[in-house]
Chain length 362, copies 2
Amino acid sequence: MAAYNDRPMTDAAAAEPLFLRACRRQPVERTPIWMMRQAGRYLPSYRAVRSRASFLEMCRTPALACEVTLQPIDQFGFDAAILFSDILVTLPPMGLEVAFPEKGPVIADPVRDRAAIDRLVVPDPVAELPYVMEAVRQIRAGLAGRVPLIGFAGAPFTLVTYAVEGGGSKDYVNTKRLLFGDPEAAHALLEKMADTVAAYLAAQVEAGAQAVQLFDSWAGILSPRDFEEYALRWARHVIARLRAHPAVAAAGVPVIYFVNGCAPYLDSYPTSGADVLGVDWRIELATVRRRVGDGVALQGNLDPGALFLPPDALRARVEAILDEGGPRGHIFNLGHGVTPPTDPERVRVMVETVKARRWDGR
Amino acid sequence: MAAYNDRPMTDAAAAEPLFLRACRRQPVERTPIWMMRQAGRYLPSYRAVRSRASFLEMCRTPALACEVTLQPIDQFGFDAAILFSDILVTLPPMGLEVAFPEKGPVIADPVRDRAAIDRLVVPDPVAELPYVMEAVRQIRAGLAGRVPLIGFAGAPFTLVTYAVEGGGSKDYVNTKRLLFGDPEAAHALLEKMADTVAAYLAAQVEAGAQAVQLFDSWAGILSPRDFEEYALRWARHVIARLRAHPAVAAAGVPVIYFVNGCAPYLDSYPTSGADVLGVDWRIELATVRRRVGDGVALQGNLDPGALFLPPDALRARVEAILDEGGPRGHIFNLGHGVTPPTDPERVRVMVETVKARRWDGR
């Protein structure tokens, strides 16, 4: 854990954005909020852009990525922006083409054996993904200091599941076959993913990202021992690499590690090296805090489905999470991405409820 | 919890099948084993039957259901048989037609509002599902007392997810919309499912099932409070109804409740009223035992993917689970259903390893 986590608030720290202070467990006057997939299909203004361009075109066109990234900041006043992109953009430069039909991503030629793994390259992300770096620069300019920008990438294990299954999966049989049938090959693949992701996130920071989140969306399919061996170990590798990078170290860029379905792993989860642990909605935030201690900030964890509640019931759930999160080291978020049929007015209720809760004097 | 759980072993109890004794936390000479989906596509003999009949025909033809139910008993010597059927067979008599294409079940006309819920009926399972009761009778005859037969049903919440989504789902948005947008309608639907399932399981017991398992395959998508309100509450309703049924009470039929992804719910899970709690592979059995106490038996929890391990590594994982499960109140099983590409010879290694561990004198 970086030393700044425990330093007392100074005038300089107080001038820092709310979101970054919460990541560092510094005092805040209120809990900051952002929302996974806040630039997404629930927003009419997003769907308007999407009607003119494919998902991939939006990712690859910095002006469009910038436009949709800023929409939820302008409309709801979230306390952080997150780069509009996809966790799979690192796969094509490694040698794996990805298509994005409506039903979810498809990798036509999935990686199933050692030979396919050995053919993958660890790309130079600045040279291979220039549109991402340009989007980061344009978003920073568009934000003009209003709120910080979060960069992100898929965590190595989650990227492996996509590369091996060729997309999403019900039971992840091909992934399990690789892990258990040829662990050496699995680790070779994980290492290539980890090296790629570490370099990619460092490049995002150099381009202007002020925090980064590592999404381990599918780490929750593993037993606790396999989580440590195949997911956590390589997330830790990415985070350690990243911390050693001069641009990241100099700015003290907070790292968020999000494991969807983290409940079984609370003993090992806080050893990731991240400043902030993402918490999904399946477990109470208070339970997580009790289990992981005070050395790390927590981010979460409203059930995205709770946005279907009537406003009063929604407010009560938001208040309960604010109570559990407490005044120090909590970033309000959903426990997973917002779903397309969500009413934006409910998002507004959530944001207003979070912003109305003050922690003055604590 | 039934009183027989804690009675000392008598000669009569010792003569009871191993599996039933373990369900009741009575002394056993070794840990019993069965495997979820043990009558399934990983078996060449199952695929031979399947090549002549559709999945639904197999469910609806007692002779075929009986044939595939007995196959894994004959081939591996599992300590319990489980009725070959599907958790969705209760939906058509309620008024919801289900098709079973290769990709998974499809309900063409899903239930999304109060009017659709009000149209559903609570059927008489003996009159409406005679083929299931006949299959139970034929299997009991075919088993000829070798091992007990487990009946089963989908738990109310899991059946609701299928009825509402029209099949499987990625984010269960329609289910969440119903639960959070109209909780009264959701409970009306859950109650119809619960009443149907309770009557259906009682009918299976009357036909000859010696234990029953309630599958809550999708309860793991809920926050802990919603798990209690929407899943556990109605599983408890089913179990209480079932225990009050004369045939079930007279035989002391053990009830197994299986929540896939149970790790977040360990505080409330043991209050289901079940004799046995199913444990998926995402959490260590020792952790579950520590959290739920000694008042209930546990069933699980090898990762189905671990059957891809080389034999020696597989044996080591099986041994570790036997150690965690200990000599009292543990039934060895996978943490979820066996997957089709599994090598039956690995299943044999698992069974032999479990059977070789003796608990004599404990």
